[in-house]
Amino acid sequence: MVVNCEQVWREISNYLEGDIEPGLRTAMEEHIRGCKHCNAVLDGTRNVVQLYGDERMFEVPLGFSQRLQRRLDENMHRDRRGFLGWMVAAAATVLVAGSFEVARSSVSSHPELRSEHAQPGAGVPPDMLVLVASDGKTFHAPGCPFIHDKAHVETIAAREALRAGYAPCVRCMKQYLNAG
């Protein structure tokens, strides 16, 4: 199978999703290897997905959480009315304050992640073989299109990757990450 530039652009999104037939994937990769333009389009599109997928893009206005908690509290207060409602609000405040304490202590008991915004990888099978790049921050399943610096990757067990501070790729490891 041979594909031209237009076909590559039409399928580039599905290519990144891993949602194309193996034959088409091979033909696209062959074309991209020899086409500077399509190579640039693939790199750029992949960068778009990676940059916008980063949690740092989720900025909330200052005080957002506090206002949300207050509104929830007010709502519960209105619903229950009287003393019981007040008790609930106070309990919620204590729970939230406690959660920060517990969260802080739990963070300190784990190896430091290379990316502070990464999701924890506790759900990844520890013996699973994954790919890491020495100067990267995430580990990937073989074949993941979001591996940068493919020339310098090595294969190690997920357990080792986690110990070294790598975080799971939110794309190819999605099935093991339930926060998202």
Partner: protein, 218 residues
């Protein structure tokens, strides 16, 4: 604070989330904030993608979370709670947009032929971008401006799929469109963003986006 509400980023966390939902359904409404806390930023960003105004997005996200609490009994365990919450937020934001912003004019790109092929306008070489650059506010601002310049139908799909990590099917369900439309719009959104960002970010991070000078690439 109960241990079971701590980490939701693993299978045990998922199990704990289910227990938390059960307890809230049982009347312990004060636990609700613990349930939504991991997702509050995502809910806000979903609302912002639609409303494009901080105050409106915050109000819509808060209202959506109150609705989630009110209707928590309708949540079905086969879905992810985060997906359900984002869907409620999208519905809330869309409803508000229809009511309050009907007069606003969408960018011209909204009216492009969705089914037609999209030709990348720029072939600027945009190799690896270190994610550390996101620490810089001006870079995040550039990305936010580029996203805001997309037509609503492209922006919604892109945000739900590429920022909220909903699946193609979940995105289609949340927006009440077909999976084929999701794929087409997603392709367009990604290519348009690449066209907008590659010339500015390809070699020089401090340079301005081309559209910032008033010359959109389409």
């Amino acid at each position: 604070m109960p241990e079971e509400v701590m980490s939701l980023g693993n299978p045990a966390g998922q199990f704990n989330e289910e227990r938390l939902i059960q307890r809230i359904r049982g009347g312990e409404h004060d636990l609700f904030y613990e349930l939504i806390r991991p997702y509050e930023r995502r809910a806000y960003s979903a609302a912002f993608a639609i409303l494009r105004n901080e105050a409106d997005a915050e109000d819509a996200a808060q209202a959506a979370m109150l609705k989630a609490l009110k209707h928590i009994r309708q949540f079905r365990a086969e879905a992810r709670f985060s997906t359900w919450l984002i869907q409620i937020t999208v519905n809330e934001a869309r409803m508000r947009k229809r009511k309050e912003h009907a007069h606003m004019i969408e960018p011209i790109v909204e009216h492009q032929d969705e089914e037609g092929n999209y030709t990348p306008r720029d072939f600027a070489d945009w190799r690896e971008i270190p994610l550390e650059t996101l620490e810089r506010k001006e870079v995040r601002q550039m990305l936010a401006e580029a996203l805001a310049s997309l037509g609503e139908k492209y922006r919604e799909v892109f945000v739900l799929r590429d920022m909220q990590y909903l699946s193609i099917e979940e995105t289609a369900k949340a927006l009440r469109i077909s999976t084929a439309s999701v794929k087409t719009r997603l392709l367009r959104a990604r290519l348009m963003l690449r066209d907008l960002l590659a010339p500015g970010l390809g070699g020089n991070w401090s340079s301005k986006l081309s559209f910032a000078k008033g010359t959109k690439p389409w």
